[in-house]
């Protein structure tokens, strides 16, 4: 489904990704962990198509198509979704309009008819229940005045409405209390299926108690330095990241023969 080969990217001449390799197959859940500044969010933004990040080399394909060549909206229409770490406030655009407009763009790309306001209301009620959000949210401006937890649940609501093939969750757990974390995880798990994949970008292991990954990757210095199964996340929780940094440094030293 998603194939990333030796991807390098920079922002304003600062190199952030230094050769990412990642393969995500249908139905898989991958966790990307790493210390602050390791490039996790950059990877998420690059996959979603943020224009501030310049890909300098490497490639990425989504279902066999060149991902890097696609505009952000084309990626969305083909089924990639990014849940933002910092969802953007959009004054004057209410949530219902925002959700329905996005959904109808994606339906159009899939060759489906646009959904009218009444059908949409039926759908959205069901999805609101999933993330335990009140209908009154629909009338509020997108993310404006939302608490941190509300913003994150609103991201998962969008995920539930748009039903992407690949969902990338960028630090969706940050700033959530345990109840909100469970709601978010429940929403994500409900949407996960054998043909839908999830990439969870997170600093902490905590979310992975609820969204159980098939693979865990450790990102440091802009590259994936270690991969494993879910037990790796537990090990990181206990031992931190320093031992991996050390292990990586040793390996690099061996390679260059110091």
């Amino acid at each position: 489904m998603l194939q990333v080969n030796n991807l390098h990217a920079e922002v304003e001449d600062t190199k952030i990704l230094n050769g990412i390799n990642l393969e995500v197959n249908p139905g898989e859940i991958h966790a990307i962990m790493g210390p602050n500044g390791s490039g996790k969010s950059t990877l998420a933004q690059v996959l979603a198509g943020h224009e501030a990040y310049k890909v300098t080399s490497g490639e990425a394909t989504f279902e066999g198509r060149d991902l890097l060549d696609m505009a952000p909206e084309e990626r969305a229409r083909r089924g990639i979704f990014l849940a933002f770490q910092y969802p953007v406030e959009i004054p004057g655009v209410n949530s219902a309009y925002f959700l329905r407009t996005g959904l109808n763009e994606i339906r159009k790309a899939r060759g489906e008819d646009p959904m009218d306001a009444i059908d949409f209301l039926g759908l959205i009620r069901e999805k609101l229940a999933l993330v335990k959000m009140d209908e009154s949210f629909l009338k509020r401006s997108v993310n404006e005045g939302f608490s941190g937890g509300e913003k994150k649940r609103h991201e998962i609501l969008q995920l539930a409405v748009l039903e992407p093939r690949l969902a990338i969750l960028d630090e969706t757990d940050s700033g959530l209390d345990i109840d909100a974390l469970k709601i978010v995880a429940h929403g994500v798990n409900t949407l996960h299926s054998p043909d839908k994949s999830i990439v969870v970008v997170t600093h902490y292991q905590r979310l992975l108690d609820y969204i159980v990954p098939d693979f865990v990757h450790v990102l440091m210095g802009g590259r994936i330095v270690k991969s494993g199964d879910k037990s790796l996340a537990l090990e990181l929780e206990q031992r931190g990241y320093d031992w991996i940094a050390q292990e990586t440094a040793d390996r690099v030293a061996d390679t260059v023969g110091v």
């Binding site: 909206e73 979704f81 959009i90 925002f98 996005g102």
Partner: protein, 463 residues
Amino acid sequence: MSVDKSTDRREWYLASFRGFEKSLNGGTASALHQVRRAAIDCFAETGFPSRRDEGWRHTNIAPVARISFRSAPDSPPAGLSADQLAPFTYPGLDGTQLVFVDGHFAPSLSTQETSLPPGVVVGSLAAALKEVPDLVEPHLGQNAPYAGEGFAALNTAFIRDGAFVYLPAGAGLDAPVHLLYLSTARAENEGQDAGDGPPVTYPRTLIVAEDKARGSVIESYVGLEPEASYLTNAVTEIVLGAETRFEHCKIQRESGGAYHVASLHVTEAQGCRFTSHNISLSGQLIRNDITTVLAGEGVESTLNGLYLASGDEHVDNHTCIEHASPDCVSHEFYKGVLSGQAHGVFRGKIHVHKVAQGTDAYQSNQNLLLSDDAQITSKPQLEIYADDVKCSHGSTTGQLDEDAIFYLRTRGLSRAGATGVLTQAFAGEILDLIGFEPVRDRLAQLVSAELEATLHNGSGARE
């Protein structure tokens, strides 16, 4: 069209006025005609403004001043039907709608509310001058100044018809009155020496609300042909008694080649609550002068405005709030969306007189530039002569938030789609302040269509 590069066609208008006087058939003895004469004398003296005048520094009116505009015909074109007016009406407003075609009242196209409260007058100015002159004459031409104001002077000199709305003391009008000024862009075919200049109309509106009355008026200025060229030279006077509640909404949807120069003058007595909405959607060159005089204590006055300009359109809003009494509050909230090579001008003057202690005035002007070549000139002007005042202003000009555009794109919207949604939201903040839902909703649709056209023909999109 006839263009003389050396003069501002002053002689042309003076000759035109003499022709107009003849057509009045003895109506030159009236009090109104003395006002007309005074106004044409003022025009003869000063002519049109130029960029040397402080108030016109950013709007080059010379192209308009050079054209020999001809009077529009007296009668509506045969076969003009209600269907043709439909795009300019607001279904769901059930008040009186007066239609003026090329400046003249068209009774057959108008609808009168049947159950107006006693004493209320809503009708054509020409009829009111005959039937209730004592309600009209004390106010008509007495509020909006014309000395040194070339356009207002011409409008006043050529007053013949327009609208008159009168609310006696304590009267309440629930549904807004809609005054629809339609230009068909036909010119009178008189075989004058000036050839085939485009037409001009002089719509005149007088609104008088006595103490404790409440009501609302919507003034629409629209062009029947999408690209026609003509001049609308409009003046509206509003006189509000003590403790009135009044909402005024001006909607300007002139043709693409049209010039529109208008002034609105409001006088507010003690304890008034007045709101003005000034919405400009189209036209080649638009100039609005809005002056409100807070003439009694405890007035609360609000001026809202939204202007959209694309292509090479020019839109200029000059507002002036005269805080002439103590303890008055004024709010002003103007927004502009400019694309292509459009040029916007906003000048907001707040004049706090020495007596106006306890003034609380706030002004905001926000502009969105959707292209690299669009321009805005935004000039707040605070003149404060009292010492116990709260007076502030803010002006911002910028582009859309790129983070918000990216966010919307990740949800499937194209860049143009995202730009449209965000721009609509920006403009919507002003439309939402309008008190009449059918108008609000229809204007939101029109703004949306206008933005879509702008963003999809590429003249406004920023890549």
